[in-house]
Symmetry: C2
Subunit: 231 residues, 2 copies
Amino acid sequence: MLRIVLIEPIYEGNVGSVARVMKNFGHADLVLVNPCKLGGEARAFASHATDVLYGARIVETIGEALEGSHLVIGATGIIGLASNEHMRMPYSSPEKLRERLNGISDENIITLLFGREDNGLCNDELKLCEVIVNIPLNAEYPIMNLSHAVAIILYELSNIECGEIELAETFDRNLLYTHLDELLSDLGYPPHKHQKTLLMLKRIFGRANLMPREVQTLRGILKLIQKRSKH
Amino acid sequence: MLRIVLIEPIYEGNVGSVARVMKNFGHADLVLVNPCKLGGEARAFASHATDVLYGARIVETIGEALEGSHLVIGATGIIGLASNEHMRMPYSSPEKLRERLNGISDENIITLLFGREDNGLCNDELKLCEVIVNIPLNAEYPIMNLSHAVAIILYELSNIECGEIELAETFDRNLLYTHLDELLSDLGYPPHKHQKTLLMLKRIFGRANLMPREVQTLRGILKLIQKRSKH
């Protein structure tokens, strides 16, 4: 199941357009974080998808928007250029993202985060994303309309071949990341590399389609390492 | 090379949006057949693609829009249900269309026809199309915003693996179709099936990626058949 989260959208027409294309592809789980006022223009652009528009959950924090997610994917028009820029690297094309999601159960909530029309997602928001997706565009003008980006990603992901795999919840994976954070400190990992390495670990586990049991076992191992390293 | 033709677009915002997404994917060949007035809203939606918007060729007939094309593809939201409805059958998904175009040279002008926001392409316009493309959507609301449809098709076709194949021009293939039309009459083909069968032949040759020499040879064969059948 796909959830679309729009962070602080500025133009109500775009919100309406996103609702419309969501319904075109059979989706209805729309969450808006601190959106602009939604009036007649949003309604006009939603066309026959006012049910999706009016059914949108409006929240104040990203945390609320992500609740219950099994995977958080951030869409960005700006990509990292060096492989050590973990903020925006590695990124997937929509096609690679679809291939990666093949086999997962439709019960999982796959959350797609889209940023503001002018500034996209900020770094703190990107850090919450486990996977980064980028639509390959012409270098001369790579800034796409928000609803076009949603349309293209929903189009590509409409071909996921669903299976039986149940993913761990983002909430539980976050406990793993907190654990890794502690471990790096415990190990005396160089503080100036700490955050960057933590983000790299998050990117690795984010693209690994971890199952609940795997997260549990990994946390068990981390606990053991912490215990031993303290002696 | 892709050309986008919009037939009698009603909303200037959509025309601007189409210009924008064309530039996002590196295209500039936009033709508008009897468009609505293009003012500030078209400009606003085009954003940084006003060069594509203002560079659009405005024409009065579809014939002018298709000039120089090597393949004419019609996009439709309504698909044929029976395999004998040649007007809208067979249709390709954008993905199948891309696969079919793999190998053709980038010198070919591949023209994509998009119809009016309310009524799409009429039957006479669909008859001009050699290939029909349809984006698979949810049955509950399969009517997509015009610029979203353009965005998705351009996204998919941005992955064509170009090669060396030069297609015959639509103009020359049309001579072949005229020839087939004559031949059916010469053969005394049942008049009530004539147009339908002609359209079927057009759909077959339309998806065959005919090269100029092949069209020439086919016409030679037709000429021979006509000559013999008259004796």
